[in-house]
């Protein structure tokens, strides 16, 4: 990767990066060449040397958590994606280890969540293979060649002018950006909130139909300095999400854990099909 966000040294990850505006996407840190937690998981899964369809998700989760722990022991700061995945896997692990309850409204079982994860890994691996097969085809300019001395350009002349949609959109983005950039207000990067975490998770795993006390797991993986602000912004963010109907909150009593789950008005259609099981 040669793109700016991934080339930021890891030790700067939790420091202030004032050149980043508030609406910049979350940092994608290329941990030793990995592109996100799913990529890392896929690598770990391969080291189990078994077919992805027969993989032990529990063992995989433990490997991942052990990996994150070792990184933390030597104070390596990891990108938020990796920590949120760790929280989710810790939660998944706890569900897999606790015998299945009969309660109907507890959302997907640990086994179903594990299946979702295995499916996503399998799908990512399949796309990797497809990409390899594509690039190994006979490519124009590498394996096969075009006429070296063309005599005409066979356009069906409807307009005497040519431009592509990409040209058009680039021109528009450029001109708008050139005039907007003068009014940029630089905001300090805020601590990532529960809703950030939720976005990250959605990206990694699809819509979470049952989230319960993930926050509890999440806090374990936050850097110590950020825990207080994260809790505060998490609460504010979750109220906002409730108002938008994207989240439901339940608390059984004062000082009891706060349960969260996807609301009735999700931003995108749920991806996890629980009915299939």
């Amino acid at each position: 990767m040669n793109i700016a966000p991934s080339s930021i040294p890891m030790d700067q990850l939790w420091q202030d990066t004032p050149e980043r505006a508030a609406d910049e996407p979350a940092l994608v840190i290329d941990v030793g060449g990995f592109e996100g937690p799913l990529d890392l998981l896929l690598h770990l899964a391969r080291s189990q040397k078994v077919d992805l369809a027969r993989i032990s998700v529990l063992a995989l989760a433990e490997q991942y958590l052990a990996f994150i722990e070792s990184a933390r022991r030597v104070r390596i700061e990891l990108a938020a994606d990796y920590l949120v995945m760790a929280a989710w896997l810790a939660y998944l692990k706890s569900k897999l280890l606790i015998p299945q309850q009969a309660k109907g409204d507890e959302g997907p079982s640990g086994e179903e969540m594990a299946a979702t994860l295995a499916f996503r890994l399998k799908r990512l691996e399949a796309m990797r293979e497809a990409a390899t097969r594509l690039i190994n085809r006979n490519l124009v300019g590498r394996d096969v060649h075009v006429r070296g001395a063309p005599e005409h350009i066979p356009h069906r002349v409807q307009s005497a002018y040519d431009a592509s949609l990409f040209d058009l959109l680039s021109a528009y983005a450029n001109i708008r950006q050139r005039h907007a950039i003068t009014q940029v207000t630089i905001e300090k990067r805020k601590v990532w909130s529960l809703s950030d975490a939720r976005d990250l998770l959605t990206r990694m795993l699809g819509e979470i139909t049952e989230w319960t006390v993930l926050q509890h797991y999440l806090l374990q993986y936050l850097p110590a300095d950020d825990r207080v602000t994260a809790t505060a912004s998490a609460f504010a963010a979750s109220l906002e999400l409730v108002r938008e109907g994207k989240l439901e909150i339940r608390q059984d009593g004062a000082f009891q854990p706060i349960y969260l789950r996807q609301g009735r008005n999700p931003a995108v259609a749920p991806e996890v099909v629980v009915d299939a099981f």
């Binding site: 497809a130 097969r133 990409f166």
Partner: protein, 238 residues
């Protein structure tokens, strides 16, 4: 016309056939000239406008393609466009100094594959499959190369824009149709091109113990170094 009965010419089947053969040959020559003269593929619509009235473009092109099948230059189809290309087995003789092939990053290639196999696909769906945000410089590189394009909008909340591949993608990767994407049918059959877990997707009940199974190794410090997360001299502080 070599017919002995000029006044019956229009009715005699052999005269028709002969006439057809002549005009078919002529149509082939014209198509050959048009496609040969162009570096980029030529659409059937473009050819149809220039071939003799009523010439069956598909038949003409099939015939021409057969003529070139064993030659050093082949006539290939991508979508509804045709192009002459050097035969793949001869790539070794043609060394172009200026490598015309764009070097794609691993991420860009992966995104391209996802767009090709899952199209029409939204950016959010690509990110869900890869589990990471698409970094800037990935989609625009693919658009600039002319391999992907905005297709339209999904009829779903938020009406997100969908992405798909272009005719140039087919040409560059030597595909006649999107159907010819390698392994497409298997992937479909395995349910790996859907956003949903196929009902037959089985995952064994995970073992309930913390112990590693026989075919697992514990993660060691060395592994972390291998993964590039730790420098070999990393100190353990806690």
């Amino acid at each position: 016309m070599p017919s002995e009965h000029p006044d019956q010419e229009m009715e005699g089947p052999s005269a028709d056939q002969q006439g057809d053969a002549v005009s078919l040959l002529e149509a082939e020559r014209i198509a050959e000239a048009l496609v040969f003269a162009s570096a980029e593929p030529v659409s059937e619509a473009f050819l149809a406008e220039r071939l003799p009235q009523g010439a069956p473009v598909a038949t003409v092109m099939q015939g021409l393609a057969e003529r070139y099948v064993a030659r050093g230059v082949n006539l290939v189809r991508s979508g509804d466009r045709w192009a002459f290309r050097t035969a793949p087995d001869l790539s070794f003789v043609i060394r172009k100094d200026d490598n015309e092939v764009r070097k794609l990053s691993r991420a860009a290639l992966e995104v391209l594959a996802i767009i090709a196999y899952h199209q029409p696909v939204t950016r959010a769906e690509i990110e869900e499959i890869r589990g990471v945000q698409t970094s800037r410089g990935t989609l625009d590189v693919l658009m600039e190369a002319g391999w992907i394009r905005f297709r339209g909008r999904r009829r779903s909340p938020g009406r997100p824009v969908t992405l798909g591949t272009t005719p140039d993608f087919l040409d560059h990767f030597g595909l006649e149709e999107l159907r010819d994407l390698p392994g497409l049918d298997e992937l479909k059959g395995a349910g790996l091109l859907s956003g949903r877990i196929p009902p037959n997707f089985q995952v064994p009940i995970p073992s309930m113990s913390d112990e590693l199974t026989e075919d697992e190794d514990p993660i060691t410090q060395l592994d972390l170094e291998e993964l590039g997360l730790l420098t070999p001299s990393g100190e353990e502080e806690e």
